[in-house]
């Protein structure tokens, strides 16, 4: 006698249908969501790396935001300093004109008045603010850095501090947001406000005008040098921005590879499971016809 087989052929069809159904469900879910990763268990390692990728991508978005707000304030500061340089250049011309011995006292006093105007203009520029924050008061951004002060030799008092704020523009890279007025407008030997005050006094009293002009010239050179910080900073922001944008594109692409389904493959899988299902159902229909009782003569 031959080997007895499992008479319940349907059990195979059923388990086949169940397995196939599972695959069909998965394929359908992938097609519907466009994602091959629909739950953590689909690929735990990929899901874990997705977390890290998105953390990094989110940080990059934030760095780009930091860069854009920093670019704004740096540009405003840069243009304020350009105006300071321009004003100092005209102060220098006024001084050179005042050094001309042909001028009389009243002419010189008129020139002194012009210098006073320039002094006020530069004072205003040194108090430039952006988004309600003073740009040149160091970290004391809520304190107006400069105020006119006749009792001071420079004609002004500085109320800011000597510190600098820095903002992160990419992982581990911080950039100073501005320079404090105490550094921008003066150092041990040069002082923008004092040079102007000295020129004003020289013109008023017609004493040592050329020396005062030299002083203004030195101040002009000094501020121009300091101004390069802003230009360089904007350049650095631009290149960092390019880098971050590229990195983000890369991250998005990696995220896509991790997460997105290969649609062609998913659809093929789906079609395949449907074909398998049809085959199984047909096989099931075949089984039902095979039974010895069908061939027994009716009593």
């Amino acid at each position: 006698m031959g080997m007895r087989v499992n008479p319940d052929m349907y059990s195979f069809i059923l388990s086949g249908l169940q397995t196939n159904g599972k695959q069909e469900e998965q394929a359908l879910q992938q097609v519907a969501s466009g994602q091959k990763l629909n739950s953590l268990s689909d690929d735990p390692a990929a899901a874990a790396s997705l977390v890290t990728l998105r953390m990094q991508s989110s940080s990059d978005t934030q760095y780009l935001q930091n860069i854009s707000s920093l670019t704004g304030s740096l540009n405003v500061a840069d243009s304020a300093l350009s105006s300071v340089v321009e004003a100092l250049t005209s102060a220098q011309s006024v001084g050179v004109e005042g050094a001309n011995s042909a001028l009389n006292t009243s002419n010189q006093q008129a020139l002194a008045q012009q210098i006073q105007g320039i002094q006020q203009e530069i004072l205003g520029l040194a108090n430039t603010s952006y988004n309600g924050e003073y740009l040149f008061s160091g970290t004391a951004t809520t304190t107006q850095p400069y105020a006119a002060d006749p009792s001071s030799t420079s004609g002004v008092t500085y109320s800011g501090d000597d510190s600098t704020n820095s903002v992160e523009i990419s992982a581990g890279q911080a950039m100073p947001t501005s320079l404090p007025g105490s550094q921008l407008f003066s150092n041990a030997t040069t002082n923008v406000f004092k040079s102007l005050q000295d020129l004003y006094n020289a013109l008023n009293t017609n004493t040592n005008i050329p020396a005062a002009v030299t002083e203004v010239q030195n101040a002009l050179t000094y501020v121009s040098t300091q101004q390069t910080f802003y230009g360089n900073s904007v350049d650095r922001l631009n290149s960092t921005q390019t880098f971050l944008t590229q990195e983000q594109t890369q991250l998005t692409e990696t995220e896509g590879t991790t997460l997105d389904v290969d649609m062609a493959k998913a659809v093929t899988d789906l079609t395949q499971t449907e074909t398998t299902q049809q085959a199984l159902v047909q096989a099931g229909a075949q089984i039902s016809q095979l039974n010895l009782f069908n061939y027994l003569p009716a009593p």
Binding site: M3, R4, V5, N6, P7, D8, S11, S15, L37, N38, S39, L40, S41, D42, D43, P44, A45, A47, A48, S49, L50, V51, T52, R54, M55, S58, S59, T61, Q62, Y63, Q65, N66, S69, L70, N131, G132, E133, Y134, S137, G138, T139, A140, T141, T142, T143, D161, S163, N165, S166, V167, E168, A171, G172, A174, T177, L259, N291, L292, F293, L296
Partner: protein, 464 residues
């Protein structure tokens, strides 16, 4: 010499026997689709011969017994695999609920809140006196704290649900063991009276399979037809007509129900069935995820608070705790850190962006933002620690899922083998039907032949 009447009686016996065999066939056909039914075969036996003169003469056939065709060893293997499969099924079901809480594939998990929180400090660094940016920091902190406490409490809810299932499963185990003990008693009685206990055995097999679904079992068949059932680790469940009920008792340390057998705690020794799967999730994987979540929350709370305390608020005052400080109830344990996580600051001015008391200073805001890259959680960044947790939660489902498939295949093989032994084949029954029918017809023919012979004999004496 034999007699015609003797032949008649042999033929009658044959009629009755074939009728009995037909009955067995009919019963098999009737139960072809009954779950757990094992096909039965009539055991026909030659009747003892008698000495007729010098010759031994056969006296026909008797239906000795009806036997169920089953392989007890195979049944046990099936129950073992069933146990294993149920354990995996219930574990995977439980952990599927858990992984849904960490929905990172849809981008709605903790990661978003974690990123937003650190980013809010980065934004604040660009404008440290801005009250709207300060407000954003507080809100991002609240969102993060909510995400932690929500996830933690959802985990606890799942765990509670599983604990309820443990109690229910234990009740079901007790119902089944009571039934098995009753069936043991009945089977013994029927066997003693010499009848076939086949259908009772089928019922008991069904109960044993259901029992194996709930808990790992070891079954020993005794000669008297009864079974002794223990867990694979030896806790007695059924012996003869006695069953030992399992009990549950709340463990004061965990707040969860432990399972006891005859006064012994067997919670950790249950090795299969739904109970094992549920207990593994309830006492192993879920507490492990919960504790990772707690560790991460505690690390964040302490690192952020420390940095806050190093800085100064908008009004130049020293920084205070950002999150409500976490005080462990048990030393060295962070249990409850995630569940109770809340933001302590109420006023945006209190965010300590400055490191020297200057209003516009942003160094401490930057330092707070940079905690994102700090190795603050067990020597890892918060993001990496969380990423590992995600990996763990994913593996908690994916590993047993592959195992589930493997066990499913084994079980399918075994069931197939079992069915090839015990399943009712209609082809086979049709053949039996014809065989017994023909034998019946032949026996009837013998009777009519003997009848004719008898008549012929009687006719010899009839005057014509």
């Amino acid at each position: 010499m034999s007699s015609l009447f003797g032949t008649m009686s042999v033929a009658l016996q044959s009629l009755l026997t074939q009728q009995g065999a037909l009955e067995v066939t009919a019963n098999n056909i009737a139960n072809a689709n009954t779950p757990g039914y094992s096909r039965e075969v009539p055991i026909l036996e030659e009747s003892p011969p008698i000495l007729s003169g010098n010759t031994m003469v056969g006296t026909g056939v008797t239906l000795k017994s009806v036997q169920s065709v089953r392989d007890n060893i195979l049944d046990l293997r099936i129950d073992q695999e069933t146990s294993q499969q149920s354990s995996l099924n219930s574990y995977v079901d439980s952990m599927n609920q858990v992984q849904a809480l960490f929905n990172e594939t849809q981008g709605s998990g903790l990661q978003t809140d974690l990123s937003s929180f650190f980013n809010s400090f980065q934004s604040l660094a660009t404008d440290p006196t801005s009250s709207s940016l300060r407000q954003s920091v507080i809100i991002a902190g609240q969102n993060l704290a909510n995400a932690f406490s929500q996830t933690s409490s959802n985990l606890a809810t799942i765990q509670q649900g599983l604990d309820q299932s443990v109690v229910q499963n234990v009740q079901q185990v007790n119902q089944l063991t009571t039934q098995v003990a009753n069936l043991n008693q009945q089977i013994q009685t029927v066997s003693n009276s010499g009848d076939n206990p086949g259908s009772l055995e089928d019922q008991r097999d069904e109960d044993l399979t259901n029992l194996a679904n709930l808990i790992d079992t070891a079954v020993i068949y005794s000669n008297n037809g009864t079974v002794t059932v223990t867990t694979t680790n030896g806790a007695l469940l059924v012996s003869g007509n006695q069953s030992d009920a399992l009990t549950t008792q709340i463990n004061s340390a965990t707040g969860m129900n432990d399972v006891y057998a005859q006064g012994t705690d067997i919670t950790t020794t249950i090795a299969g069935g739904q109970l094992h799967g549920i207990i593994s999730a309830r006492d192993g994987s879920i507490p492990s995820s919960q504790s990772s979540l707690d560790n991460l929350a505690a690390s964040l709370i302490s690192a952020v608070n420390k940095q806050q305390n190093d800085g100064y608020d908008l009004n130049g005052g020293p920084g205070t705790d950002f999150f409500t400080a976490f005080t462990p109830t048990t030393t060295g344990s962070n249990a409850g850190a995630a569940a109770t996580m809340t933001v302590a600051l109420t006023n945006p001015d209190e965010v300590a962006a400055s490191s020297d008391g200057t209003q516009g200073d942003n160094s401490n805001a930057t330092a707070l933002a940079n905690l994102q890259n700090g190795l603050i959680a067990s020597g890892q960044t918060a993001g990496d620690y969380y990423s590992n947790l995600i990996d763990q939660v994913g593996n908690d489902v994916s590993n047993p899922t592959s195992e589930q498939e493997a066990v499913g295949l084994v079980l399918q093989q075994l069931t197939n083998q079992q069915q090839s032994i015990s399943g009712v084949s209609l082809d086979e029954e049709a053949t039996n039907l014809i065989t017994y029918q023909q034998a019946y017809e032949a026996a009837a023919r013998v009777i009519s032949t003997v009848d004719e012979l008898n008549e012929a004999t009687l006719d010899m004496f009839t005057p014509s």
